[in-house]
Symmetry: C2
Subunit: 133 residues, 2 copies
Amino acid sequence: METLEQVMETLNMETVLKAESGPCITHLLPIRDALDILSGKWKIPIIVALCVHKRRFKELHRDITGITAKMLSKELKELEVNKLVNRAVHATSPVTVEYSITEYGHSLWPVIRELRDWGLKHRDKIIYHPEEA
Amino acid sequence: METLEQVMETLNMETVLKAESGPCITHLLPIRDALDILSGKWKIPIIVALCVHKRRFKELHRDITGITAKMLSKELKELEVNKLVNRAVHATSPVTVEYSITEYGHSLWPVIRELRDWGLKHRDKIIYHPEEA
DNA sequence: CAGCATCCTCAGTGATACTG
DNA sequence: CAGTATCACTGAGGATGCTG
């Protein structure tokens, strides 16, 4: 089992931190990419909602408390660009659009699980045991 | 092995999305907590830098390209509150302050690894194979 | 229904200067 | 050295109304 230090060494820190390119592209940047795709106020709720089952725009708008149509539209577009979400237009009248999680979207699961697991432990540590160093 | 759908079901989505409290606290919120702690422009570079070895404020300021003293100070404070980073003041003259990763900080490793691994695969998929659905 | 256009605001960030 | 204070700016996100 590698330690955090060992892994960080593989990141070639001293080079990475100051590099404009090179090692940075294969090391720090991927972390940033993943973070950028998941962060923001609505990405996770949308992904979670679509993981349960496919939904239409209006349904998402209704099921995700507080989101505006503008943000929902924008976020879905980003998720679609990243191939995490599929957009299917049905030629009904009026048209309906169904959004669903892609197969590729499932690859996010290990990431989300780690985030959730760490977040749970962290909540416990900080909120319920704030006194411990 | 659980599927993403199965896990999402355990999140009790329909309840979670609309809940102000209750299930939300143990499910969506931890993900947001973790994300909040890691996201932003400087948290990861700081953590990575400190994982290689402890550093003083000035050293961090020098080693992390582009960060301002104000942001460095603010980010270190947040990391310290979350017990990921330790702040040690030495009564030299003038005083020096050493920042280091805590034992608890190491618990972030699985999270960072998953983010990096997914980010690497994603980079490959989106940038080098943009044509594939 | 599924969005887009417009306007707005305010918290996060940067630049610069200053302090114990 | 290790920060803080002040000001200015930007952009994520919200409110509202409109369209194909």
